[in-house]
């Protein structure tokens, strides 16, 4: 029951943060391109609830769900979006590159698939050092078109690394559907021929994703293939069903409503409402901190390009 509440806290936090963004983006104070997670909340929430504090996360530019599910750092998140020093990267990263290694989120890559080999390397270090950490790398199905994906998959399987690949398939790479990008019928069948464990689960129900995520048995890489529907445009806060490249689904499943229902059944309506109230208060507080914080001083522009420290 406790975990179920935490799972709902995760999906609701992601949704409520993005709802705030949608409402306030037009004010032009968050000057950073946003690739919204809306519709895909259950995946990061379920996977990271399962792996827990051992997770070292890596993702693409679609950062919001992974960042919040891993770090719960609402204050830093908004600080970064507002370009302020209260962000974990002091405004250098924005939405696309936000990272917070201390809290477990290592890398957000603006280049499709570039985060995947980095996660493989960290998994190698974890294995070599014998710690219990798990590298968890999130990527869209578009990344499976990239050479870096196949190179990384091969390497991880060859070295039998403790890594969790999470392929979040929303059928689209920007606006291009899978059938215009794939010279094969079924990516899962191809990937499953590698030396790994394969999990397939729809990505709408956070509790199901959590259940399905293997959190031990990392003697081989684990590949979790999941599907979801991207509610908004590729980049930006608008719906784009009128753009002509895709249709509004007849029955659009809402990961937040699904998990809310589970949680009410497992706990109570008042527990759910308490979580929602707490999260909304934290967002209000986080935005207030971000707005009061300073922009980075321009004198810091050239700081930190090199660490200039010889051990």
């Amino acid at each position: 029951m406790h975990t179920n509440l935490e799972l709902y806290r995760k999906v609701f936090t992601i949704r409520a943060c993005e709802e705030y963004i949608v409402e306030h983006y037009h004010e032009d104070e968050m000057k950073t391109p946003m690739h919204m997670s809306m519709g895909g909340e259950a995946i990061a929430a379920g996977v990271l609830q399962a792996i827990g504090e051992r997770a070292q996360t890596f993702c693409s530019y679609r950062t919001h769900a992974v960042y919040l599910a891993r770090t719960d750092d609402i204050e830093g998140f908004f600080g970064e979006l507002y370009g302020k020093v209260s962000g974990p990267n002091q405004g250098r990263a924005g939405s696309m590159h936000i990272a917070n290694p201390v809290k477990g989120h290592y890398l957000s890559s603006g280049i499709v698939a570039a985060q995947i080999p980095v996660a493989v390397g960290t998994a190698y270090a974890n294995k070599a050092l014998g710690n219990a950490k798990i590298a968890v790398v999130f990527f869209g199905d578009g990344a499976t078109n990239e050479g870096a994906f196949w190179e990384s998959l091969n390497l991880a399987c060859l070295l039998k690394l403790p890594i969790l690949f999470v392929c979040e398939d929303n059928d689209l790479a920007v606006h291009t559907p899978r059938n215009q990008r794939a010279g094969y019928k079924n990516i899962r069948k191809i990937v499953s021929r590698f030396n790994l464990r394969m999990i397939e689960i729809p990505g709408y129900d956070a509790a199901h994703v959590w259940d399905a995520t293997i959190s031990d048995m990392f003697d081989l890489p684990i590949f979790l293939y999941t599907t979801y529907h991207r509610w908004l445009e590729h980049v930006g806060i608008n719906q784009d069903y009128d753009a002509g490249y895709r249709k509004r689904p007849i029955n659009r499943r809402d990961p937040v409503r699904i998990q809310r229902r589970h949680t009410i059944l497992a706990a109570s309506r008042s527990d759910v409402e308490t979580i929602e109230k707490e999260v909304r208060q934290r967002i209000e507080q986080a935005v207030s901190v971000a707005k009061r914080s300073s922009f980075p001083a321009t004198s810091t522009l050239l700081k930190g390009i090199y660490s200039d420290y010889i051990r």
Binding site: Q56, F58, P88, N89, R92, A93, H97, A99, N100, P101, Y106, L107, S109, G110, I111, A114, Q115, I116, P117, V118, A119, V120, G121, T122, A123, Y124, A125, N126, A128, L129, K133, A135, G147, A148, E151, S152, N154, L155, L158, G304, I305, Y306, S307, D308, Y309, I310, R311
Partner: protein
């Protein structure tokens, strides 16, 4: 005496003994050829052979560094490193600036030349790498520097690219047995008073040869080994040019948009009042590197090219080079790689 290749091997072994987080990886690193002997004596469990996946393997190095190791990634030709340009320009160089997380990663890349290496096994392109903020780019010339700069790179918490010229691997020199660090500073490798030649990589060897020949004609050439493309040690370069007033840049790369252009720009900013002639440059011909020997000879500058430029700069009488013997690598190197 120790060869350049042995000096690299020594540095790697000693750093591995000093710090158990150091490991070396790359295509063919532990195979029987041992990357021209530069990985000859490494412990097998810390030298990792890899799939042919340069792009992913550089990202792998970043991740391993983030995870607490100190990786050394080896590319037997720098041309192959270009496959990993995405990681280099987008991740390796930016990650510390964005996140504050250090990437203690070393990349060793080898410049090939001669006996038909051709257009995919002969590049250097150090200006391309030095152009990117966040990378350090060293080009050791002597065995002493090869060891000391590699040790410095491994201990550095920033990513460092070492560019090693294939022809320097046989160079011999005094190399202390113990471990030591060399700072990436330019160095005067021959003193002179009439003209400064600022040279990189193999062209330091050619510049020294040119200086020897010119000395017989009463021309005193100072040769400065640039040593590091990033950071660029403009102080040492400018001090030499201040003294001689004349400067030639001999860069082991294409001239157009090359490192020589950056050196010229910075030297003239520092030394404008002391210069008595425009700064000239020599480097590769502006073509892809061809295979046939006669074309290869025309593609690469050598000591004779440098001497002719010096003659122009100092307005000397024609110099008879017909009795001089120039470096012909075939006497030692008959391929295949």
């Amino acid at each position: 005496m120790t060869t350049y290749a042995e000096a690299i091997d020594q540095a790697l072994i000693q750093e591995m003994e000093r710090d158990e987080s150091v490991f070396v990886y790359g295509i063919g690193v532990p195979d029987h050829k041992k990357v021209f002997g530069t990985t000859a004596n490494l412990p097998r469990d810390r030298s990792l052979d890899t799939p042919l996946s340069e792009d992913a393997l550089l990202g792998f190095g970043v991740g391993a560094a983030l995870g607490g190791l100190r990786p050394v990634n080896v590319h037997i030709r720098i041309d192959f490193l270009l496959l990993a340009m995405n990681q280099l320009a987008n991740i390796v160089s930016t990650h510390h600036y964005i996140t504050g997380q250090q990437i203690p990663l070393v990349i060793r890349a080898i410049v090939g030349r001669g006996w038909g290496q051709g257009c995919h096994h002969s590049k250097s392109m150090h200006s391309t790498f030095a152009h990117i903020p966040g990378l350090k780019v060293y080009m050791p010339v002597t065995p002493y520097d090869a060891k000391g700069l590699l040790v410095a790179a491994i201990r550095d918490n920033d990513p460092v690219l070492l560019i090693e010229h294939r022809w320097l691997y046989w160079a011999e020199g005094d190399v202390p047995e113990e471990s030591y660090v060399v700072q990436p500073k330019a160095k005067v490798i021959r003193k002179g008073s009439d003209l400064t030649v600022i040279a990189t990589s193999w062209l330091c060897v050619e510049a020294l040869h040119a200086a020897e020949i010119l000395a017989k004609h009463d021309v005193s050439v100072e040769v400065v080994d640039l040593c590091s493309a990033q950071p660029l040690d403009i102080v040492t370069l400018a001090n030499s040019v201040d003294k001689t007033g004349v400067c030639l840049v001999a860069d082991n790369d294409w001239v157009h948009c090359g490192l020589g252009a950056e050196v010229v720009a910075q030297v003239q900013e520092e030394c404008f009042d002391d210069l008595t002639a425009p700064i000239l440059r020599v480097g590769f011909a502006p073509s892809p590197c061809p295979t046939a020997r006669c074309l290869e000879n025309a593609f690469y500058p050598n000591a004779a090219t440098i001497i002719h430029k010096v003659k122009d700069l100092l307005d000397l009488d024609p110099i008879d080079l017909s009795h001089e013997e120039f470096y012909a690598h075939e006497r030692r190197f008959k391929g295949p790689f």
